[in-house]
Subunit: 462 residues, 2 copies
C-alpha cells in the first residue's frame, strides 16, 4: 500500500448512500417493484459495461459525448498505428477504448432481447433497476451516476400496454402517497401530423426537438429555433393556439380531432390517445392525473407512438418519469419490427421530492434493537449467551465490543437509535435480575434473569 | 440512431441476469442481509467510480494492472504536454484517465469512513453489496464483473467481532442449507512469529505470499519460491511439520503454543485465535466447521491480525469467503490507527455451489399468477375490470395484450409458468359463468361471473 496519506476525494457528481438513505431508497424501490410484479413484469439485470459498438450512435451526438469510455486494459496504445503527431482524441478513441458504461437501460435491454430472441416468449415484460452513468456537468439534482428504473413490454402493439403504464404510474405514486403530479401524454403520430399541418411534413423531428424545450427556454426561443429550421411565420401563427389549447384531455381531443380530420397520421395519433384513455377509464383508473398535452415531444428519436412524461405540478423539479412507444428499437441490432413500449422512473428525483415533502415513513431504518452493555469478564458468559439467544429470536442485537465506560456505551446506543439497552453487571447477576432501559422514554425496568429473552421479545411485540 | 444493423455482442466476462437468476440472487442476498441485520450491520453503497488516486497502490502491482480505468471526458488528450513520439501507455495514463471502477468494497469503504469521520459513531458496522470490476482474463467461474458482499466493523480491536464473523458465516450457510464447508482461521501475528521462527524475522510478507499459494501450486513450488526469497533449507525443514500439523484446532493450538512460547508475536496470534474460538463456544457456535490452519496466509498486505477463509471441502471451487483484521486501513488516507475487521462473501461462487447442488428452493420466481384470455371487444370491459380487481387483491395478473388465437395465448401462459388462466368469451359472459383453467393439472372449472375475484383469491389461498 502506498504511503501518500493524502485526503481522499469522491468522484464529482457521484454519491455515497449511508444507512438512512439506503433504507429510504429500499422503501422507494420496493414500492415500485411490488407494482411492476403485480402487472406481470419480471426483473432483468445487464452488465455495467457494454461494447462501444452497442452504445455509440444510439443517443445522438450529445449522448455519444456523455458516454463514459473505459480504457482498454494493458498496453492500450498497442492498436494505434497512425503517426503520433496526428493523434486527436476523436481519431484515437476507437483504438484505445472499446467499452463504455451503460448510459441508459433501454439500449442494453434491446441488446439483451436480440441476443436472447430464441429463448424469450413474446410479448416479453421486464423491469430493470440499475445505475447508469453520464459524463454530464454535475449540478443540483443532476448526477453522473444515478439509478434508472424501467419497465418495458416488447413484442406487441396493443394500447393496453399504454393504459397499464398509466395505471402503474398512478399506483406507484399512490403507494408513495405522492400528490400533485401530472401524467402528460401525447403521440408522435399526432406530431407528424402537426408538422404536416404547419406546412413542413418532413420536419417532425426538428419540430419535436424545438417544442421539447418549451418549458425550459420559453416560447420565443422555441419559435426562433423553428424559424431557423424553416418554419414560416404563418406556421408559427397556426402553432400558437395548438400549444395553448384549453380544457381537459377530452375537450382537447374533441377540438383537435375536428381540426386535424384531414391529416391521416394526426387522426391515428389522436385515436390512440383516445383509446388509451378509454381503457384507463374501463380499469377505473384515475384520469384526473392524466393530461393530453399536444406540446409534449420528448427528445429521443426512437419513439414512434404514445409518449409519456410525469411532472410535479409545482414545477419544483424536472420530469420524474418518461417513456413511450417505439416500433423498432431492436432494428439497429438486426432484429426489425419488434414494437414495444416502456416507462422509466427517475428514482433520484422522486427520492428528492419525497424527502422535501417529508413523505418517507419514519423508522424505515432497520436499526439494531438491543444493545447489551459490556462489563468485561464479569458478565461475559451471560452476555454472549444472551446476544446469541436474542438473535435466535430474530431480534437484532449487539454486545458492545469493548469494555468502555457506561456513558460511552449509552451514547453509542443513543446515536444509533437503539431502543433498548440491557444492563447486567456483577450486581445484577448476583441478584439474578437484569435492568432494561427504554432509550426513548428513559424508563428503566427489571426482568428476572431466566426470563430475559422472553421479556425482550414481549417488549418488541407491543 | 445509426443504421449499421450488426449483431450486438456482450462484453466478455460479464453477464446478463434474467428473471430466474435474479430471483435466485435475490434469495441468496436476502438470506445474507437478514443475518447481517440481526448482528447490527447497516447498509452502505458507494459510487461505481473512484478517483484513481484513491484506488491506485492499494492492491499491489497486479491489482493496479487489473483496474478498469475510465477515460477523461471530452478532449482527453488536452492535458498531454509531452512529445507525442514519446507516448507510452504508462506515461500518458495519468493524464488521460483520472477515474477507475471499484476493484473491491474495502478501499471505497475506507474512503467513506475517512470522509465521514466526524459524522460516524464508532464502532461502525456496515455491510455493502455491490458489483466490482476487474480486468482479469475471463475464465470459468471468474468474471470481470462480479458481486461482492462485505461486512466490516471499524473502530474496535475486540475479538468479539472475529467471533461474530464466525457466527454469521455459520448462520448464513445454515440459512442457505449449505453443508460441506470449512471456515479456516489463522492470525498474521502468528505468521510474523513463524517468519522469526524460520530465521527470517523481516520476511513475513514474502512468507505469506508464498504459502498463500500452497493449494494452488503445491509445496515444492512454494519452497522454491521461499528459497529464492532467502529462506534456507533448514528453515524449510522446520516449516514442513507446521504446515501439516495434525488434529483439530484445539490440538494444533496446544502444540504450537508450546513450540512458539518464546516468540512474542506468535504467542499473541495464538492467544487471539484461542480467545476467538472460546467466544464462539460461549455463543454456542458450531466449532466443528472451524479449522485453525497455520498455513492460511491470504494475499492482501493490509491484514494484521486474524484472517479467515471459507472453502468447500470437496475442493470444487476456490474460497467462497475471506477476510480478516486490519489495524490501519484508513492510514493511507490520513486517518491512522483505526482498527477493524471484515469479511467478504463471494456471491457468484456461492451461487454456483447452490446451483450445482440443487439447493435453491423451487418457485422463487414471482411469476404472474393469472392470465386472462383476450377475445377483443366482445369481452373488453369485463376483462379490463377483472384484471384491475385482481391486481387490487394483490394477485399479479395479465390480460393478454393482443387478440390472438386461443392456442397462442395458452402457450404464453404455459411458457411463463402462469398457473391460472381465465376464459371469459362471449358465450361465458352470456351464461354469466367464467371458465378457469389450472395450467399445472389441466383441470377446468367454472365460477359465477359475480364471484370470480373471490374464486381466484380463494384458489391462491389453498
Amino acid at each position: 500500500m502506498s504511503n501518500n496519506s493524502s485526503k481522499p476525494t469522491k468522484v464529482k457528481g457521484m454519491r455515497d448512500f449511508g444507512p438512512k438513505q439506503m433504507a429510504r431508497r429500499s422503501y422507494l424501490l420496493s414500492t415500485i417493484k411490488a407494482t411492476f410484479t403485480k402487472y406481470g413484469f419480471l426483473p432483468l439485470e445487464t452488465p455495467a459495461m457494454e461494447n462501444l459498438s452497442v452504445l455509440t450512435g444510439k443517443y445522438g451526438d450529445e449522448g455519444d459525448q456523455l458516454l463514459f469510455k473505459v480504457l482498454n486494459s494493458g498496453d492500450f496504445l498497442a492498436k494505434l498505428d497512425q503517426d503520433p503527431a496526428n493523434y486527436t482524441a476523436h481519431t484515437i478513441l476507437p483504438k484505445i477504448a472499446e467499452k463504455g458504461l451503460r448510459y441508459d437501460l433501454t439500449v442494453p435491454f434491446a441488446r439483451y432481447v436480440v441476443m436472447n430472441r430464441n429463448d424469450l416468449t413474446f410479448p416479453f415484460r421486464r423491469y430493470q433497476i440499475q445505475p447508469v452513468w453520464r459524463a454530464d456537468r454535475p449540478q443540483k439534482g443532476r448526477y453522473r451516476e444515478f439509478m434508472q428504473c424501467d419497465a418495458d413490454v416488447i413484442g406487441t402493439k396493443s394500447l393496453l400496454c399504454e393504459a397499464e403504464i398509466i395505471m402503474m404510474l398512478n399506483e406507484i405514486f399512490n403507494g408513495l402517497e405522492l400528490e400533485g403530479y401530472e401524467i402528460t401524454i401525447n403521440n408522435r403520430q399526432f406530431l407528424t401530423g402537426l408538422s404536416e399541418f404547419l406546412g413542413q411534413p418532413n420536419k417532425e423531428s426538428a419540430l419535436c426537438v424545438a417544442i421539447d424545450k418549451l418549458e425550459k427556454i420559453g416560447r420565443d426561443k422555441v419559435y426562433e429555433e423553428l424559424t431557423i429550421q424553416g418554419f414560416e411565420q404563418s406556421a408559427l401563427t397556426k402553432l400558437t393556439p395548438i400549444l395553448s389549447i384549453p380544457g381537459d384531455s377530452k375537450a382537447k381531443l374533441a377540438i383537435l380531432k375536428k381540426q386535424f380530420s384531414g391529416i391521416a397520421s394526426a387522426v391515428t395519433g389522436l385515436k390512440e390517445i383516445q383509446e388509451t384513455l378509454d381503457m384507463v377509464e374501463a380499469m377505473s383508473g384515475d384520469l384526473t392525473k392524466v393530461n393530453f398535452d399536444p406540446s409534449l415531444a420528448r427528445g429521443l428519436s426512437y419513439y414512434t407512438g404514445t409518449i409519456f412524461e410525469v411532472r410535479m405540478l409545482d414545477g419544483s423539479i424536472g420530469s420524474i418519469s418518461g417513456g413511450g412507444r417505439y416500433d423498432d428499437l431492436t432494428g439497429v441490432f438486426g432484429m426489425p419490427d419488434i414494437p414495444g413500449v416502456g416507462i422509466s422512473l427517475g428514482i433520484d428525483r422522486i427520492y428528492d421530492v419525497l424527502d422535501k415533502r417529508n413523505l418517507f415513513p419514519p423508522n424505515l431504518e432497520q436499526n439494531t434493537q438491543v444493545l447489551i452493555i459490556n462489563f468485561g469478564d464479569e458478565n461475559r458468559d451471560f452476555t454472549l449467551s444472551l446476544v446469541k439467544n436474542l438473535r435466535q429470536q430474530n431480534i437484532s442485537s449487539e454486545l458492545y465490543p469493548d469494555i468502555a465506560k457506561m456513558k460511552k456505551q449509552m451514547t453509542y446506543a443513543d446515536k444509533n437509535s437503539i431502543p433498548l439497552v440491557v444492563i447486567a453487571g456483577k450486581q445484577e447477576l448476583e441478584e439474578q435480575k437484569v435492568t432494561l432501559k427504554d432509550m426513548f422514554t428513559g424508563n428503566q425496568f427489571a426482568s428476572p434473569i431466566n426470563e430475559i429473552t422472553d421479556t425482550i421479545a414481549d417488549y418488541f411485540k407491543r
